[in-house]
């Protein structure tokens, strides 16, 4: 079987328009394409709207818009970085039509692991990080394997995984948070680990930078790899994917492994930021992460969505939390307002012209 001939374009049958050098530019590009392109960035609509509203309603002190102050913006990104990183992994899972409820518990497990390995077992940063990431990945991959091989719905598998991870974390830590002290002595973690709670140039918090980097990386992966196509295909039409020779099981397992890996990474960051690994860390983060993904326009049915949307969704939630707090809205009212804004942001997604 010879590969399809790449020069075949020049051999186009007679009767077609005159030859050209870059056929891809000559493809019909009509009004629809423009509209499509505009709505491609629809997941940003909600973010932009909330951003503008936040500027408008932000309290002003000494003539400075508090919301827009660089420190505040950095805080927002830092505050959403863990949820954001988890949401990146969750995006892959949701794209294949699954869900991962275990991420918050895996974060807790990883936080405990980081603290325990460094403080109690006296390991260095690199082995600690590697082991913890490995644990997260293996945990995710195991869940993925159960989903892919036995065919149990991922909701159930990861709900069980949530309980199991939480239980393991509590047993490992003896139930209490493991505080991280820095220094060279025994029972002390390497100073460098505390960089996770620092900032670059005193402006950009390290977790925020990590989130942005991972987000952009995942965005590129989702744009340009065959793996990403397989992910979309499985979520869109599993049978078609299988018939086309997509390694469905392997992709599924990989996707859950990625989610576990990123949850573990978020757990390491969590431990670094809070100087402690506590087994109860990350409770409920799964819902926030899923919310970020879905607000970003990814369908829970799988097969459609974008990483850019997820990043926008996470930032939107962060801005929302921030501006409500800056305005000293009562915590209970905040809950109600947040509910309404989330629905409104999701409704903005619906302006899109629909296919079928």
């Amino acid at each position: 079987m010879t590969p399809p001939n790449p020069t075949a374009v020049e051999e186009a049958p007679a009767g077609t328009p005159p030859p050209r050098r870059r056929p891809s530019l000559r493809l019909p590009r009509d009004r629809h394409a423009l509209v499509d392109n505009f709505f491609r960035f629809q997941s940003l609509f909600g973010l932009v709207a909330v951003f503008l509203i936040a500027i408008a309603v932000s309290p002003v002190r000494n003539g400075e818009n508090i919301f827009l102050s660089s420190g505040n913006l950095a805080n927002i990104v830092r505050a959403v970085s863990e949820i954001g990183i988890i949401a990146v992994g969750m995006t892959f899972v949701i794209l294949i039509g699954g869900i991962d409820l275990s991420v918050g518990a895996v974060l807790g497990l990883a936080a405990v692991g980081s603290a325990t390995l460094m403080v109690d077992s006296g390991m260095g940063i690199l082995p600690t990080v590697l082991i913890v990431l490995l644990i997260g990945t293996a945990f995710g991959a195991t869940q993925g394997a159960i989903v892919a091989r036995i065919g149990i719905q991922s909701f159930i598998v990861t709900l069980a995984g949530l309980q199991a991870a939480r239980g393991i974390a509590r047993m490992w830590s003896g139930g209490l948070g493991v505080p991280i002290a820095y220094g060279d002595g025994p029972k002390e973690a390497p100073e460098a680990f505390s960089l996770l709670s620092g900032s670059i140039n005193g402006v950009l918090p390290v977790p925020a930078v990590l989130f942005i980097a991972i987000g952009i990386g995942a965005l590129l992966v989702l744009r340009s790899t065959a793996f990403a196509r397989h992910v979309y295909a499985i979520g869109g039409n599993e049978k078609a994917a299988r018939l086309s020779g997509v390694p469905v099981r392997r992709v599924r397992i990989t996707v859950f492994a990625i989610s576990g890996l990123l949850a573990a990474l978020a757990g390491i960051i969590h431990a670094g930021q809070l100087n402690q690994g506590s087994p109860n860390d990350g409770s409920g983060y799964e819902l926030d992460a899923i919310a970020a993904v879905v607000i970003g326009g990814t369908s829970l049915a799988g097969g459609s969505g974008s990483m850019g949307g997820t990043i926008a969704g996470a930032l939107l939630l962060g801005i929302l939390n921030n501006i409500l707090a800056l305005n000293n809205i009562d915590a209970n009212v905040q809950l109600v307002v947040k509910g309404l804004v989330i629905v409104a942001a999701a409704a903005l997604q619906k302006l899109r012209p629909r296919i079928s």
Binding site: M1, T2, P3, P4, P6, A8, V9, A12, P13, T16, P23, S24, L27, P28, R29, R31, H32, A33, V35, D36, S224, T225, A226, R229, H230, Y232, A233, G235, G236, N237, K239, A240, A241, R242, L243, S244, G245, V246, G303, S304, P353, R354, I355, S356
Partner: protein
């Protein structure tokens, strides 16, 4: 024809629960031949080729490729062995682009390991062009018409450069122009030594394209014929086990009064939806007891017109007048349409017609539940009786009414959709490609049924891409071009040429 066959299947058998789908079937495929596979709905054609293409992996019998026995673990193995398949049901990923779909699972890579998107698009466009489809490979498959999706499927199979190409009803969703282009392609492939298995229920096609025909009946081998010499009756006799009398009834009644009247119907979509041709000036009438055909090229807007008449079209502003029985008609949704006695058999049976995982019985009664309930409670006995009646009336082949609709053969699924809509006892029946994938015997039964319904006073509006079907079945043919009525041809003056000329817009010079 070369001596040694590319593929030899011997003693193939396959059982699904209580159904023997294939029984001791031998089949050979030689290089450079077009081998037709014939049989009624449910005869086992798709099952046989699913076995050959690695979709079904547990079966009896042996398969040899190039004389060597093979055992495929999955579709990919078959593809590696040079066997490409266009499956009967469209299996594409709606959320991916045309190019991505065509190269799914074997994406060309760049040196960096990413997907070579440009190359993918270029090659996709090229394969589509050989089929005469000028589609932007970046378009999402979900936005394509069924026919266009079919072309994408074909393009994908072509792009595999296989030595054996299996086509399971590739033309079911295509209009004549596309079919002709496909045949050109098939002839080229044949010249290049590709062995082709061709499944179709359109007898006329076989006479044009097939070199050899194997006929299956009830899962077993019924015989092999040369379709160019054998008479149609002979073939049908083999397929059905009896002769099918005059396919198309003659001597129609006089049509009655006007039931549906449409004047200058147009829909201005609220949002632009690429790929849809909304009605843009449709005039037509359908009388009681009359069968009116809708003709047009792919994308002429037949489907959209029927959807609009059923209240299921895209959102938008409707203009023009519609009346039923002289009273204004403008359904807000399918429910409203059904309430006015309008029923619709959609063209995409899997996407829009059936709950595939649900039982045949549940599917059949869904639209007519209101007549089968007392105080909201379903009368089981009545349901069972009604379902049995309908399945028998339409000769649906199903192991039992309790099996999932997905397990039925394609043609039988179509009949289930049909049965569901007939149960609503409509006065106006809208049919979109109602015989797609239906075997010739069942087709005859459907035609007879339509005649009987029309004779009983039902008005029928039927869109079809099979011109012979329209010509023989309809009292009048309305031709659409870009969403407009361009001709209304009474039976006497409706000829293949006249319809094609109108469909191409020849009497509408300004649009050319």
């Amino acid at each position: 024809m070369t001596e040694r066959p590319l593929v030899r299947m011997t003693g193939i058998g396959k059982r699904f629960g209580g159904v023997q789908a294939c029984r001791d079937i031998d089949l050979t495929i030689a290089a450079g031949e077009v081998h037709a596979l014939l049989g009624e709905n449910g005869a086992g054609k798709s099952t046989l080729i699913n076995i050959l293409s690695g979709v079904i992996t547990d079966y009896d019998g042996t398969i040899e490729v190039d004389g060597r026995p093979v055992s495929f673990g999955g579709p990919v193995d078959a593809q590696r062995a040079g066997i490409a398949t266009i499956h009967q049901e469209l299996d594409l990923v709606a959320g991916l682009s045309i190019a991505e779909n065509m190269f799914l699972g074997r994406e060309p890579r760049t040196r960096l390991g990413g997907v070579d998107i440009r190359r993918m698009r270029r090659q996709a466009a090229e394969h589509l062009r050989t089929l005469g489809a000028d589609l932007d490979p970046r378009r999402l498959v979900g936005s394509l018409r069924v026919g266009e999706q079919q072309l994408v499927e074909i393009g994908r199979a072509l792009s595999l450069d296989a030595r054996v190409l299996i086509m399971d009803e590739p033309t079911a969703a295509l209009a004549d122009a596309e079919v002709e282009r496909l045949f050109e392609t098939i002839k080229e492939l044949r010249r290049a030594g590709v062995g082709i298995v061709y499944i179709s229920h359109r007898m006329a096609e076989l006479e044009v394209i097939a070199d050899r025909a194997t006929v299956l009946r009830n899962g077993g081998l019924a015989g092999t014929v040369d379709p160019r010499t054998a008479s149609r009756d002979e073939i049908i006799q083999l397929m059905v086990g009896r002769s099918v009398d005059a396919l198309f009834g003659e001597g129609r009644n006089e049509p009655g009064k006007v039931l549906l009247d449409v004047r200058n119907l147009a829909v201005t979509p609220r949002r632009p939806t690429p790929g849809r041709t909304e009605p843009a000036g449709v005039d037509l009438t359908v009388r009681t007891g009359e069968i009116v055909g809708l003709a047009g090229l792919m994308g002429a807007g037949r489907t959209e017109l029927l959807e609009t008449l059923f209240g299921a079209g895209g959102s938008g502003r409707r203009s023009g007048q519609m009346t039923i029985d002289g009273r204004p008609y403008g359904p807000h949704g399918p429910r409203a349409a059904l309430a006015r006695g309008v029923a619709f058999v959609p063209e995409d049976r899997r996407g829009a017609g059936l709950m595939l995982e649900h039982s045949v019985a549940e599917n059949v009664v869904l639209s007519a539940l209101a007549t089968l309930t007392t105080l909201g409670v379903v009368r089981r006995q009545a349901v069972r009786r009604t379902v049995a009646e309908q399945l028998t009336a339409l000769a649906v082949k199903a192991a039992s009414p309790a099996v999932a609709a997905a397990t039925l053969s394609g043609g039988n699924q179509q009949k289930v959709v049909f049965a569901k809509q007939l149960l609503t006892q409509p006065r106006l029946l809208l049919l979109d490609e109602p015989t797609r994938g239906v075997d010739i015997g069942a087709k005859a039964e459907i035609y007879r049924l339509l005649h009987r319904l029309a004779d009983a006073g039902m008005a029928i509006l039927l869109a079809s891409s099979e011109l012979p079907e329209l010509l023989s079945l309809c009292d009048r043919v309305v031709v659409l071009h870009r969403g407009r009525t361009v001709a209304t041809l009474p039976r006497a003056s409706a000829t293949q040429q006249a319809i094609l000329a109108a469909a191409n817009g020849d009497d509408a010079k300004e649009t050319r």
